[in-house]
Symmetry: C2
Subunit: 292 residues, 2 copies
Amino acid sequence: MNRTDDLNKWKRTVEESMRLLIEASDMPTRLRDAMSYSLEAGGKRIRPALVYAVLETYGVPLERGNEVAAALEMVHTYSLIHDDLPAMDDDDLRRGRPTNHRQFDEATAILAGDALLTDAFRILAHMSLPAVEKVKIIEAFGLAAGSSGMVGGQLDDMLAEKRNDVTLQELQSIHERKTGALLVYALEAGGILAGVSEEDRSQLKQFGRHLGIAFQIQDDILDVVGDEQTIGKRVGSDEENEKTTYPKLLGLDGAKRALDAEVEAATFAIESLSTPAPLLLDLLAFVVKRNH
Amino acid sequence: MNRTDDLNKWKRTVEESMRLLIEASDMPTRLRDAMSYSLEAGGKRIRPALVYAVLETYGVPLERGNEVAAALEMVHTYSLIHDDLPAMDDDDLRRGRPTNHRQFDEATAILAGDALLTDAFRILAHMSLPAVEKVKIIEAFGLAAGSSGMVGGQLDDMLAEKRNDVTLQELQSIHERKTGALLVYALEAGGILAGVSEEDRSQLKQFGRHLGIAFQIQDDILDVVGDEQTIGKRVGSDEENEKTTYPKLLGLDGAKRALDAEVEAATFAIESLSTPAPLLLDLLAFVVKRNH
């Protein structure tokens, strides 16, 4: 991807937005420290990048996406904090640093997650945008993040880990909710902010859906063939944990073919938009060609 | 209180609303079971009652409050589920039944709480009301429930439990956020739904503030002088746990005088409204005279 400058600019923008929003809220120091600790842990900031890429595609000022980008990253971060808890994945490290509950304590980590989720909605309600659009953005966010979206996918993923007869259809449904829903939402919200047509909004969501599945297949493939040093975690862990993955269900070649099909479908959605969107195609390539 | 019929009617209404809203959402069975289990655990449903009492005071159809009442009770319920977790209060029983994580498991309890919180915002965004009012209601909800409200109060309460030099001012600030913020919000949202004047909305919030403090002082007093069978838990537990309470800081008589002062201030706020509000005065009396 030759859009590294864009990605870095958007990453800095969303990180600065989050910093200002958290600083502006009157809260206990320990809560702010715990929230900031995880917000500042880095990461690719893919969801904000998708929002900004849609705005740039339609020639809309990027500032208009700051709150949605921040809210998305706050909710993604809360989900990681809660997923890492001893009762869930029981992880001690994330991105090479102690997880939130290891750095602080379990109770603080639970509350930091709760606060990130709640404050994300407050931030969306407070942004400068006509109320009708704001309500659309908030409702779609609740749908993507709640019981029928991310949280539901996380619960089904947890149940699936105990089974060895998970089907391809179930695997897809879990990923579409657990990680896909927020990716689709990033594109949908970008479309609402840019005031695109119903037709374009629907294509943007289709693009998000296929991008999300491609992202997950690539994740699974990297766990089989990736370079440990580049990925930053041990490869082969999925097989050791007897996790159901695309390579396990389809074989490595089958998974690669499935990835190609998703990329093709995502590309088709982009080409159906009313305007050329080279930025979104580049982001797709970035997701598929990444080696970590 | 001779308004038991009203209270029972409102309780049935909000319980039915929550049941329908949860049933209407497409989610994993285990998640729905866990959310419903805690939503159906009963309780006084004080927050919904405050919303409905405001609507009835201003002659507004009660149905208009159904979503706000349900969202309030869902967020109150999520906070109880997370508070009961082993990392927080580590409670095995709530209202005589196993707590959510004892009935299901910790991971499910964490996710059920997350889903109740997220879905509450989605329900508010979806209700039938002009978008401008809806955004006001959502933003105030986020403020009341988030880092500067309920979650922040919960974190400070946790930190205060480890100290024996908590001042009256700190105690008040903790209660105003941990339990008071949602009570004040119930009155504020009722006021927005009823389309009351700025002046009345401000008096309703003042009423809620004093009602909340009165509620907490009465709780503390009952732990000293209450009847174990009526309260449903052991009395004297605050003293055993060396918890900072109003009776501990002010003595029992001092706490009773503080309670009287809050009731007086709450009554004054009600009498300053542009319309008589006997229902709200009755709810105040109910909170103060309750023996459990």
